[in-house]
Symmetry: D3
Subunit: 250 residues, 6 copies
Amino acid sequence: MTLMAEMTWYEFNERKDKDVVILPIGSVEQHGPHLPLSTDTIISEGFSKLLGEKTNSIVMPSINYGYKSQPASGGGPLFPGTIDLNGTTLIELVKDILEELIRDGVRKIAIVNSHFENQAFLLEAIDLVSKFMPNDTKIIMMSWWDLISQDTIDKVFDEIEFPGWALEHAAITETSLILKFAPQLVHMDRLIDEKIEEVPTYHVYPIPKDLVPKSGLLAIGRTSSKEKGELIVNEALDKMVSIVNKEFIK
Amino acid sequence: MTLMAEMTWYEFNERKDKDVVILPIGSVEQHGPHLPLSTDTIISEGFSKLLGEKTNSIVMPSINYGYKSQPASGGGPLFPGTIDLNGTTLIELVKDILEELIRDGVRKIAIVNSHFENQAFLLEAIDLVSKFMPNDTKIIMMSWWDLISQDTIDKVFDEIEFPGWALEHAAITETSLILKFAPQLVHMDRLIDEKIEEVPTYHVYPIPKDLVPKSGLLAIGRTSSKEKGELIVNEALDKMVSIVNKEFIK
Amino acid sequence: MTLMAEMTWYEFNERKDKDVVILPIGSVEQHGPHLPLSTDTIISEGFSKLLGEKTNSIVMPSINYGYKSQPASGGGPLFPGTIDLNGTTLIELVKDILEELIRDGVRKIAIVNSHFENQAFLLEAIDLVSKFMPNDTKIIMMSWWDLISQDTIDKVFDEIEFPGWALEHAAITETSLILKFAPQLVHMDRLIDEKIEEVPTYHVYPIPKDLVPKSGLLAIGRTSSKEKGELIVNEALDKMVSIVNKEFIK
Amino acid sequence: MTLMAEMTWYEFNERKDKDVVILPIGSVEQHGPHLPLSTDTIISEGFSKLLGEKTNSIVMPSINYGYKSQPASGGGPLFPGTIDLNGTTLIELVKDILEELIRDGVRKIAIVNSHFENQAFLLEAIDLVSKFMPNDTKIIMMSWWDLISQDTIDKVFDEIEFPGWALEHAAITETSLILKFAPQLVHMDRLIDEKIEEVPTYHVYPIPKDLVPKSGLLAIGRTSSKEKGELIVNEALDKMVSIVNKEFIK
Amino acid sequence: MTLMAEMTWYEFNERKDKDVVILPIGSVEQHGPHLPLSTDTIISEGFSKLLGEKTNSIVMPSINYGYKSQPASGGGPLFPGTIDLNGTTLIELVKDILEELIRDGVRKIAIVNSHFENQAFLLEAIDLVSKFMPNDTKIIMMSWWDLISQDTIDKVFDEIEFPGWALEHAAITETSLILKFAPQLVHMDRLIDEKIEEVPTYHVYPIPKDLVPKSGLLAIGRTSSKEKGELIVNEALDKMVSIVNKEFIK
Amino acid sequence: MTLMAEMTWYEFNERKDKDVVILPIGSVEQHGPHLPLSTDTIISEGFSKLLGEKTNSIVMPSINYGYKSQPASGGGPLFPGTIDLNGTTLIELVKDILEELIRDGVRKIAIVNSHFENQAFLLEAIDLVSKFMPNDTKIIMMSWWDLISQDTIDKVFDEIEFPGWALEHAAITETSLILKFAPQLVHMDRLIDEKIEEVPTYHVYPIPKDLVPKSGLLAIGRTSSKEKGELIVNEALDKMVSIVNKEFIK
């Protein structure tokens, strides 16, 4: 694994044609009273570095800002500290970076995402780029939760019921992942047992202030642990490695 | 219920300040060998008219084109007949229409969506508008599948296993809904028992041609029926009426 | 004639390479006390279906919203119920649809317009697309009034003087066309004898409120009739058929 | 009349709050074998300076480039030397200039246009600005041909039949106007008796190469004269002065 | 030298493939109490015409409006009479013009700039165009101050110390250049001995009103003279001729 | 100093109204054979953290990608590993982040830049935001080189002549700064004595491949040292602290 940030251009030049280049993208978003604002970026970077190690790939500097937090998957824009990009901005940002990589000769690009709301806009950017990219170029996009099996879900949600991925915000999986990737940033003592009471089945604007708990917690975080974080990391990472091998290396 | 398309401006003028205005949005997208390309629009219009009747609301002309079909929720852009808007275009289109309604004095707006991929871009448009709209304005957005209970799911999927909403494309629920809303457009004799074999857990571009079955069917459509369509319509419509009453009428 | 909305993608696929595809575009715009807000869309759809029948073409779902109404050709934006798109939005919307058709393999595209103000923006969209389209692609754009002969004008304006096409808004020609295409939507009893008194020879913003009559009528609608509607339809349709034959079929 | 280009900011500052500011806009467009490419700009500047003199106004530096030439009103984009702006570019350009004037305190703005194809895009720019401008601001837009009476038309077209304003491109009126405003740039000896044979009643893209005469002349220019130019200038100028007085000075 | 504005399209057509086409760009910006608002355009046009003469090139109509004035290089946006374009607008404007030239067959394009703040946005426009232009096309961009030698600086700043190019706004070099190009527009009697007292080493928004002297003068203009203007013109012009010869003619 | 990335939203919420928020922006750009691609980001982050410590401010996650490298200040876009954003993208990205901070209640924002080419586009973003921000908001932007005195320049360039800031790319100042901020990433053994031979006095596109040395070095890096890095850091930091105190704290 090599961090592109730390490579000289000579080093990058030697590897750009054959190696996979990984682009981590996160967000700056409220993650309850106990997790840091860059939780998503920390997770994306964590996975990217591990994936880079296992596949001898290059990890790019992160896109630290992401698309707008939604109430039922991130608490929404009303929480101070949530810094949201407009959809068009994120599309253009990712599009420019992908086009530059391709112009440089890179042909194997993997985006690692960990912010639920980024998904549609990442795919739009990739789609726009893919219409004009050379035939031998491939871009993949992975979000860790799409790679978790029911078996692991059962293990992680041993006590608390699994609320679905969208609501798993600042809850067991993310807390466990930060306990794994950056334990010093988790304040387990501040975690409270709060969750969204009634999951909205439609969208209202202006976003009602009482839609989500004041804490920003959408689901119960109790029972989070470093071990659960490792369980998730291990499975998602294995799958990511398989995907990269299948799509790029064979 | 009144169709805005058929109203004179005098008629619209008298009701614009107090009545709910409903905007249906669909898509032009492959729906397998047996359903029409405008399946989503037919469903949105069908729901909008029923909702309009029950709540004495105004139904706007539909937005007939929607965001890009995705492989694992609509078959993707490779199917001829799927006409996809870019994300930015859809955002601007919806934004302009909402802003014009608000400029006209409308304060109660309900968007009825039935195309999975539209969601993120509709919310982006509403969010951008909501930042500058008058305080007494409210915009809601509903997709019918978000309103279906487990109980109804159990009834509809009495024989076939429920594959999740994203994959329910051109399958039992949509087929049943068109059997209810526009039965003359359904070719049950052409329906085949095909489904996506392996649901992709990540995204690849260029989109592989064999990702989805050649027919465009993502899930089994067998056992579709007008009765199931009515079951879905009844529940979703009831919920839509409650939502509109709660948010706008009280 | 086949409505694309009602076709399956299989059906569209078989015809896309050789058949003409017709895209109707209208508007949501005040049309006086007696005509519906979607008058323009009804006319575009009416012509498109007839043209589709005569030339065995495919008719796409309409673009239901159009460019901003202007005072001296549509009454302007101040009338409630007039829903205007920004110029850039309409350009992008039409551009996306055209590009998707071309990407699908369609090579013969005919846009049928009936909203005066759409013209410049439709041409801009077509121009932008045409710079990059395959050599064997052709796009045409027709507005019905451009196809009417002096002879027909003389017959239609047998009693009332022809005020010019821009001012023929909600007046004899459009009223007659709706009497032909959707007679149940015309309220002849509400029609009054009002017209713009002084046609402005320059543009002022903010648009003065007294520029056009309160009714939104720009020219006299009296003497409108289904027969006149048929006269117009017959001539315009004949010409449209000839044009489509000349440009696409030969 | 004062040219803003030649004023110091001190001089502009003293007059900005009360005086009318005139913005001429032209184009770079083929005008046949005998007229210069900047014919439209010369005419706009010519009128603006005379109007500035009569109303003691400030004349801004011209916008020298305009919207895309259309075949049936300017010959179209295929002629070398025709330099066309995209619609969105012209909208943004005019919008920025208007917003800056308003931010500076200017409240009386008159745009003088002489390029047919600019019209829709100028109005779009003004409309967008007008939605947010201070209440005491007024923007007007005038094109000289809208101000010419039937009486003058009869005099100017004493021998040749009036082909309508759209086709009056590089023909009698524009030739006569340049004979008035910049006679040294007219090559009457190169003028030939050519005109568009069949005025297209619909639009085709790619634009056919034989739609307009090779010379770029759309209508007969014979009988052009400085005297006719003066006739046109006198009437249009009188009307412009009246309009400016009515709208701004009273 | 030929002014494109004055050429017929026939004349342009004959030369477009082989000759250099020069595009002057200026601004409308405060230039103190003694220089005109279009100082930059006058300088760009002055240089372009001389360069056109020496290299037998075509000079295009000027872009009369430029990017936003900055406090420490132009006084900033707060001065009435400074009309600033947004960055994106200027990029699109220049891009459109360049693309049209290239589409017409022009292969040798030289932009002559004299407004400090235009630089980054001109380069962005050229970069975007250059990514898709034919291989045999070349675009150059020159600003006169980049061509002045230390020797000339020493001569021009014989009494006053050279403050650096950014601050040389409305000061000795520009005043001397206008004394050379348009002496009738210089009011030497109004020139005062004022300059920016403390050059800001960082940027603050909102821009403080007292950052630059009330006069808009950033540096001392005393000792300006037509002779100094000629000195500058001679050197810059010589260099421009060499550059054009080297890059285009050889 | 607190890293926003590591704060919970509760912590951010308590400080957002009164504390300064610092936004570091860098680039991914070739920096010769001996410095890492993220040299600029490392420097911006380095300064931001020190400034945050001295002023008790909050440091945001970095913008890791910047505007297009230019040949004479960064080597240009041809070097692999240089990842350039389009101008409009950077403007929108910074605009969104600033607007979100302001919406959250932040009133004191300091941008720390270390990539020469970012400057114009950062200022454009700030300008656009500043037109609509609350009166009590202030945004400043600092680039470290603008804060270095002649005295320090003399000390740093004790042996090698100072080539000017634009050319100081991957040379003594940046090498010394990375020796200070991230010494493990500097490969002094790979540094060679190369520099741009002839500084271009104008811009050419396509960018000539031999404009800059193959190494990407624009100026001599020999004599770089951690001590010189500290000299620069000390002076720039002192000035930054004074600026922040003056503008925000008083």
